[in-house]
């Protein structure tokens, strides 16, 4: 059998990159972080902070709050790394913590009557918008349209929709993160898609233009 040389083990012509990639696999980073390696946890943060903040932002719809809750998510993760089971995917575990943190914040804001809901004028404005062909929708307008449409979904539907459509989680992972049964998550996802379609299609011209 042919033995692999160091160069063959390298990635993109960088000797040692293959070994470094192996060293930085999620499982390895978790193992190192559990042993007290702060650098490993920093790499976990670098790798997952963006998806986590996006996920939280989609749930709470507020930039400052999303930053605050992302911080809280990683603090909790940092403190409970020891509870991470070997068979659990790191991203699934982090999304699970993020979901709990966001839900707690939403409950707290709801108690203080400080949440974005159907009463929010910017959300209601969506219904009065004129249909715009998809190629004429500028990035900023499209982002705003999606953000407002998401805000109109109920919590469970928004959670499932975000995990599937934006975070590309599998149904199995979504079930693990949310604790929903497969039946409920499929139903919620289907209904969320329908609601989003009703709100977005007329304004971006999907089905007419595409």
């Amino acid at each position: 059998m042919k033995r692999l040389t160091v160069d063959e083990l390298s990635l993109e012509g960088q000797p040692g990159a293959f070994a470094a990639t192996l060293m930085n696999s999620s499982a390895d980073l978790v193992a190192r972080a559990c042993r007290g390696d702060q650098e490993a946890f920093r790499l976990i943060f670098e790798r997952y902070s963006r998806p986590v903040i996006s996920f939280i932002y989609d749930l709470v719809g507020n930039r400052e709050l999303a930053e605050e809750l992302t911080q809280e998510t990683f603090v909790r993760a940092f403190r409970s790394l020891g509870t991470l089971r070997a068979e659990t995917k790191l991203s699934t575990w982090l999304f699970g913590i993020a979901k709990n943190v966001a839900r707690e914040a939403q409950r707290s804001r709801a108690r203080h009557n400080d949440h974005v809901g159907l009463e929010d004028q910017s959300v209601l404005d969506l219904r009065d918008s004129e249909p715009v062909p998809v190629d004429r929708v500028l990035g900023k307008e499209l982002n705003e349209l999606i953000r407002r449409s998401l805000a109109l979904l109920d919590d469970d539907k928004r959670l499932v929709f975000t995990l599937k459509v934006f975070q590309q989680c599998s149904y199995e992972e979504i079930a693990e993160i949310t604790g929903f049964s497969m039946g409920k998550l499929k139903t919620d996802l289907h209904r969320a898609r329908e609601e989003m379609r009703r709100r977005i299609r007329p304004y971006v011209g999907v089905g007419n233009e595409v």
């Binding site: 903040i53 930053e67 911080q71 982002n143 149904y171 289907h190």
Partner: protein, 147 residues
Amino acid sequence: MKCEACLSLLEEYVDRELAGREAEQVGTHLMACATCAAEHELLSAEQEIYSRYDRALAISPAMWSAIVERAAPANEVAGTIPRAGLSARFVSFFRMPPLGLSFAGALVVLLLAMAIGVAYLKTRQAAAPTDAVAKKEEPRIGPAAGG
């Protein structure tokens, strides 16, 4: 496969959640049915729109510093992550100064209470035989005094 069955599986097909045989059947049907294929295209177009969603969120360097700072008080030394083992957690429990002091105080009070209790029991045990003798002797003294 009929259109009804195909449409009911379309979302799962787009999500790549269908097992091999079902995915194959849907794929074959989509090649032959224009109506279902159009629906499939719409779903794919929607997915494309969602993939363009840009939240314009940034991760500030200050966030990592804040996380380290906030997580540090839970550890014995700032900048280290607690070991996951049970023994390490047990040891760190005692090393936490406020809890360690109060626990030591409680332990001293408990030991004092135990020492007092043991001493009290020993005194009672020592006094018990004398009482028993006195009680036994009482009836003898009684009739003699009465007679």
